[in-house]
């Protein structure tokens, strides 16, 4: 089983230096890409079927293709790495950032070449200190080795890059919120259209890609789109770093072919549930995805498969709910987070999420009323996709709406018993 993304990551909490990375074939893909037309680089990535690994699952090649090329286009253009991993339960980008920063930089430089960008930024979550050190050092090394700056690897291509450490808001992970934050503005999202490919950072054409997404790029260029497609179990291409947290025996991260079953991840890689704990449900792709239950164990963990089951692949990091944890409490915890992280721009999210959290809090504390369930159901409709300015609130509604569906009795029990059944007296 091939593990292109993680095969070289060491287990000793150190990262691959430039030298080590080059020994693994690092930067050969960049050299190869620089000999191609930018359009052909994009074409290769498009053909590989690579989809955004940050959660939305949009075709990476298509995104690059939106950026205008040629003489008469707005400049400078920007290429931005979204390293603001703040999705609850997600820690997959951290592994790549801390373990193999050059793999990311190489993907970023190839991407920048494909759209003919002049500047690249790595936008990093504030809490990722180790990653900040790794990226800072890697950028220095890349400059020294001529992979950044003028005449990259002997070509005419020029790119400057720097690290931007965020001050820390969930909204910075949304690509347009990220761009506003990078401009020094409030991290409010932007309305689309125009898309960043047309008007992005400082109003110039920009691509924003997730860390894991970009780490795939050097391998696609080096080995070809066909190779990449062959990696997955389904037709979506590539591997995916899956993760699991919660009361499983071996929580962690595993690079697996895209499209393995939920059962395989949980049973084989996460080692199954801890003794004395029963599986109750799982958020398959981070905090803003719908619950799946025991009935969904055979769902293939790719974009289409999870979608068909009524949830989203999201970041591919599972949050497992067990029978000894209160589902209302778990959803409350998530909704408090989302309410806190709302930027306050649009009405449904700004007002609806705190209302949701307060309602859940009342239920959890034994002060719920049956009509609160109507309110919660109302919120899931009110904040459904399209009704809000960005995807934050609709995402926040996913665990709630599925919890109301699968764990309805637990909600009702809280209300009838005027307490949380999981709480000890």
């Amino acid at each position: 089983m091939e593990k292109p993304l993680t095969q070289h990551i060491k287990n000793d909490n150190t990262w691959l230096s430039l030298k080590d990375y080059e020994k693994t074939g690092g930067y050969q893909a960049l050299r190869k890409a620089l000999k191609l037309n930018p359009e052909d680089v994009t074409k290769e990535v498009k053909e590989s079927g690579l989809k955004g690994r940050g959660g939305a699952g949009f075709s990476t090649g298509m995104k690059w293709g939106f950026v205008p090329l040629g003489e008469d286009v707005p400049t400078p253009k920007y290429f931005v790495v979204n390293g603001d991993e703040m999705e609850p339960g997600s820690f997959k980008d951290r592994l790549l950032l801390e373990g193999n920063p050059h793999q990311l930089l190489e993907g970023m430089i190839i991407g920048a070449y494909a759209i003919q960008a002049q500047f690249a930024y790595v936008f990093l979550r504030w809490a990722y200190h180790q990653a900040a050190r790794a990226i800072t050092r890697a950028i220095e090394e890349a400059y020294e080795a001529g992979y950044l700056g003028k005449n990259i690897a002997g070509s005419d291509f020029q790119l400057d890059a720097s690290l931007h450490v965020s001050v820390g808001r969930y909204m910075c992970g949304e690509e347009t919120g990220l761009l506003n934050a990078l401009e020094g503005k409030r991290a409010n999202p932007r309305s689309k259209p125009p898309f960043p490919g047309v008007s992005g950072l400082f109003g110039k054409p920009t691509v924003v890609n997730n860390v894991e997404t970009l780490c795939n790029v050097p391998h696609i260029i080096a080995n070809g789109a066909g190779w990449f497609k062959s990696l997955s179990k389904t037709d979506e291409g590539g591997t995916k770093i899956y993760g699991a947290s919660g009361r499983v025996k071996k929580p962690g991260l595993w690079e697996l072919p895209l499209g393995v079953s939920l059962r395989e991840i949980l049973q084989e890689h996460a080692g199954g549930m801890q003794d004395d704990f029963q599986f109750k449900g799982v958020l398959p792709g981070g905090g803003s995805t719908d619950f799946l239950t025991g009935d969904h164990m055979d769902v293939t963990m790719d974009y289409a498969g999870v979608g068909k089951a009524g949830s989203r692949l999201g970041t591919g990091t599972l949050i497992v709910l067990d029978d000894k944890t209160c589902p209302v409490g778990m959803v409350l915890n998530l909704e408090r987070f989302f309410a806190q992280e709302s930027c306050g721009w649009c009405t449904p999210c700004r007002e609806g999420l705190p209302w949701t959290a307060k309602t859940l809090e009342a239920i959890e504390n034994g002060k719920g009323e049956m009509k609160d369930l109507d309110i919660l159901n109302f919120q899931t409709r009110y904040m459904s996709p399209g009704n809000t300015y960005c995807a934050l609130a609709p995402g926040a509604m996913e665990p709630l709406q599925s919890a109301l569906k699968y764990f309805k009795e637990d909600f009702e029990k809280h209300i009838h018993e005027h307490k949380c059944p999981w709480k000890k007296e």
């Binding site: 707005p74 808001r169 409030r186 932007r190 309305s191 259209p193 125009p194 047309v198 008007s199 400082f202 109003g203 309410a339 806190q340 992280e341 709302s342 930027c343 306050g344 721009w345 649009c346 009405t347 449904p348 700004r350 007002e351 609806g352 999420l353 705190p354 209302w355 307060k358 309602t359 009342a362 009509k371 309110i375 109302f378 009110y382 399209g386 009704n387 809000t388 300015y389």
Partner: protein, 898 residues
């Protein structure tokens, strides 16, 4: 035009609009908060949700925000389907969860957009059962009251204040459901347009603090369509009264003048009308003091005093055309003097000559926003014509905005357009005698003595048309002139701005030359002159004699009677000259609003009506004639000056009994150029059906109870025979023609945003056309270039050239006497540039002694890097500097610390 289908009905709409604008323009009620016709769309509030269908077969559709969807041909939407209606009601419910529901004690109550939209959406029952979030309010200065708990986070305040008006001290703080709009710390809002927050805010967060001091509900106000009298732009206002006092000023939309907005001087500078210093009754000088007398007595005595005497009349740029004209008719043209010194009057005449020639387009104030390159010569517009500064701030974005158009971003998509534009401005050049506030958006600035500002202008004109005389300026100035000329020639619509404020004829001429030269190059050039006062242009259209000439014509036989109309001569020129002049007359009749230095010398003082108590016509800087109407009939003797003049004229004089409209008719007969003023507003006998237009809204309350403490029988309401307006609530309840629209109110639309219903298209022209008549549009006389080139300024040793520095709050006589504005007045100072100060051994705050009008003044030094070497600046029009005739040479002495 596109065909659009709304709820299965077909309509036509403009493809450059979004669906919200389209719906509102079609008269449909679609609620909104964050959108504003002048601020455009951002999609934050989610209130204007509609269902949009993919095609004819689509039955489900998709919820979209109308403000973010372009009008496209055959687009099909529904406002009425349950899903859309329910979402809009739900959205109101959500944004009201933290609202205090304090309407009964809220100043916005009864004219609140949030109330209107809540009712419109159908939401009424509140399900939220938790604690509300609360905020601390801030002190924001004398103009604006802050009550953050009412906020629904529509972001319109910061979008207006920061993005539109260039303000720096209001922002959004916090996140999630704890969003706060305010200053970084309590303090006065510094921006000159802060008052618009009152109308921009859809609820009661930002309210008018001056109204709060004498609060009245909208429905209990008597209103009149009026024109701001606080500068020469003639912005349209709604003035409102109750119980004999003016309570507030709102912007009266005029798509040709001020659009939606007003400056703070215009909005808050009205309270002098209610001042204790108002002359409310006739006064007579007895034993050297003024004693109140009966109106009848005053009329009889004045008639007697004036009988058979030579009469000298002094007019005023603050008085209406009609009052000035009637005085002129009475005293005779040769005895009528514009109450303005020659230094200023000649400049106004020059401006009129150029504007009247029709050689280049003189844009309206609102049209200024459409220009894509600007060159300002001399004028500090933020302080001399504030609303012009606001519109120029929009104009400077036009060239950078083209980039957004190139990316197919619709003009109404404000956030996206601003993202592309970033902070880019230009081309925008400012040449001035000092640093000005607009410098922050300028491409390049040039600071010089007025003569050298003019020389730069002449150099620019020469660069455009080499046949014009060359100016030998510095290399730097020459290069600048070339680049300004280049930018103006590259533009589609270049605009030249100048004015009279620096007392420089050369500047006015240079500006004209540039505009003329651009026009010869077939540019759609505009020329905008700032005039000093509300009727400066009108006054000099009917008079050609200056105050100085009145002073020269000594009253030899001591028998002439002097009549001074709405003019404090001590503000016009130095005290000695006025003292000498007034000493010459035994009989001085002064028509005045407020006690002032001139009324002290009067033998009779008559209470003249301000804009609040008078009818009249004024002409603004572009030659636009506009009518203002009296708001109420005061219980004292205050009335229009032209009425007073009619009353004190000899009985039997033709003019003494004629109707207002006949004064206008006679005026036009004497001055055929002014023909247009007859069609400025509907005549007095105009009726909608059989009805007059009421000044009071239909929900006016308590009329029968207003005087019951005095008399239980209801007095007959006063009648207005001068106009088509009535003083009561009875009359036509629909939408009147713009010139006589006293307030905005429409079923379901109780707030100022009812204006949507008064416009043919939202943000566009009013029904019946925007009001006002441009008098000179048809003229096309051939006026030549001005060939004189001024000499360059040379600084003198030990002497400084004193320039007037203008202040939006302080330089204007009347607004400065309004308590709220008075709090914003600058302290007197003497401004020096740093190197002059260094050479003179003085620093910021040191006291300097100067002699002004024979009196020694001690003024603290204010360093002003923008002043040119050899010049000093003194604040124009403050109590300490009033009457100073700029410009002049001055010396100063450092006053030793005791």
């Amino acid at each position: 035009m596109a065909k659009i289908i709304i709820d299965n009905k077909e309509y036509e709409s403009d493809e450059s609009k979004n669906l919200l604008e389209a719906c509102l323009s079609l008269g449909l009620d679609l609620p909104y908060f964050c959108w504003h016709p002048e601020l455009d769309s951002i999609g934050a509030c989610r209130q204007c949700a509609v269902i949009k269908y993919k095609d004819e077969d689509d039955t489900k559709g998709k919820l979209v925000m109308a403000c973010l969807e372009p009008v496209t041909d055959k687009v099909r939407i529904s406002l009425e389907v349950d899903e859309a209606k329910q979402f809009r009601a739900d959205n109101i419910e959500a944004l009201m969860i933290n609202h205090p529901h304090d309407c009964p004690v809220c100043d916005e109550g009864g004219e609140c957009h949030l109330q209107d939209m809540t009712v419109m959406s159908g939401h009424n029952y509140r399900r939220y059962r938790f604690k509300k979030r609360t905020h601390t309010n801030q002190y924001l200065g004398p103009f604006i009251n802050h009550e953050m708990n009412r906020c629904i986070q529509c972001y319109r305040c910061v979008r207006f204040y920061k993005d539109y008006a260039g303000g720096k001290d209001l922002d959004v703080f916090g996140a999630h459901d704890d969003i706060y709009f305010g200053r970084h710390e309590p303090g006065t809002l510094e921006n000159e347009f802060s008052g618009n927050l009152v109308e921009i805010c859809p609820t009661g967060v930002f309210t008018d603090k001056t109204l709060k001091k004498h609060y009245t509900r909208k429905w209990d106000l008597t209103n009149a369509p009026s024109v701001c009298h606080n500068c020469g732009l003639g912005c349209n206002i709604i003035a409102s009264e109750r119980y004999g006092g003016i309570r507030r000023i709102l912007s009266r939309y005029n798509g040709d003048v001020n659009g939606y907005f007003l400056c703070d001087r215009g909005r808050f500078g009205y309270e002098y009308v209610n001042s204790k210093k108002r002359i409310q009754f006739p006064f007579k000088k007895q034993n050297n003091s003024l004693v109140q007398i009966e109106k009848k007595q005053a009329i009889q005595e004045i008639r007697k005093v004036a009988e058979g005497k030579k009469l000298i009349g002094i007019g005023s740029p603050k008085a209406s055309l009609e009052s000035n004209f009637l005085l002129r008719q009475w005293v005779g043209a040769k005895n009528f003097y514009a109450g303005i010194p020659e230094t200023e009057g000649k400049l106004i005449q020059k401006v009129i000559e150029i504007v009247k020639s029709g050689k280049v387009n003189v844009p309206s104030l609102n049209e200024v926003k459409s220009y894509d390159a600007v060159f300002i010569l001399g004028e500090d517009v933020t302080n001399t014509a504030p609303m012009l500064a606001l519109n120029l701030r929009q104009a400077v974005r036009n060239t950078p905005k083209e980039q957004a158009a190139g990316l197919n971003i619709p003009v109404w998509n404000d956030a996206a357009v601003r993202e592309v534009v970033q902070g880019n401005t230009g081309p925008f050049y400012i040449a001035a005698a000092q640093a000005t506030k607009l410098d922050e958006v300028a491409t390049q600035t040039y600071r010089a003595h007025p003569d050298d500002v003019a020389r730069l202008g002449q150099a620019v004109a020469h660069a455009i048309n080499p046949e014009l005389p060359e100016t030998d300026c510095s290399k730097e100035a020459g290069k600048l002139a070339e680049s300004i000329a280049g930018a103006l020639l590259d533009a589609k619509k270049p605009l030249i701005v100048a004015g009279t404020s620096l007392y420089s004829r050369a500047i006015i001429e240079a500006a004209a030359n540039i505009a003329f030269a651009l026009k010869e190059k077939e540019k759609d050039a505009g020329l905008f002159y700032v005039a000093p006062e509300v009727n400066s242009v009108g006054l000099f259209l009917i008079s050609d004699k200056f105050l100085d000439q009145a002073f020269e014509n000594v009253n030899q036989n001591d028998d002439a009677v002097l009549i001074v109309l709405e003019n404090d001569l001590y503000r016009r020129t130095d005290k000695n000259s006025v003292d000498n002049f007034l000493q010459d007359y035994n009989d001085i009749i002064v028509l005045a609003y407020l006690e002032n230095a001139t009324t002290q010398h009067a033998t009779y003082v008559l209470p003249a009506g301000t804009f609040a108590e008078a009818d009249g016509t004024v002409i603004n800087n572009e030659g636009r004639a506009q009518r203002f109407y009296q708001v109420h009939v005061p219980e004292n003797d205050v009335e229009s000056s032209w009425k007073w003049l009619q009353e004190i004229m000899p009985v039997g004089t033709a003019e003494s009994t004629i109707h207002f409209e006949n004064i206008v008719y006679n005026l036009v007969k004497t001055f055929p150029d002014l023909e247009g003023i007859q069609s400025v507003a509907p005549p007095a006998d105009y009726r909608k059906g059989t009805q007059k237009i009421p000044r009071e809204p239909h929900r006016y309350t308590g009329r029968t109870a207003m005087h019951t403490n005095i008399n239980v029988s209801e007095p007959k309401p006063p009648e207005d025979t001068d106009s088509a307006l009535s003083f009561t609530m009875e009359g036509y309840s629909g939408i009147p023609t713009a010139a006589i629209t006293p307030f905005y109110w429409s079923p379901g639309w109780n707030s100022a945003q009812a204006i949507n219903k008064y416009q043919i298209e939202v943000g566009g022209e009013l029904h019946g056309g925007n009001s006002g008549v441009r008098l000179f549009d048809k003229k096309n006389s051939n006026i030549g270039y001005f060939k004189n080139i001024t000499k360059t300024f040379s600084p003198q040793k030990g002497e400084w050239y004193a320039l007037p520095l203008y202040h939006i709050f302080g330089s204007d006589e009347l607004s400065a006497q309004s308590p709220a504005v008075n709090e914003r007045l600058p302290k007197p100072y003497i401004a020096l540039n740093n190197s002059d100060a260094w050479e003179a051994g003085v620093k910021e705050g040191d006291l300097l002694g100067i002699v002004l009008q024979g009196e020694t003044l001690k003024l603290p030094v204010k360093l002003n890097t923008g002043l040119t070497k050899g010049t000093i600046g003194l604040p124009k029009g403050l109590k300490e500097t009033v009457g100073t005739r700029f410009p002049f040479w001055i010396t100063f002495k450092k006053i030793k610390d005791e």
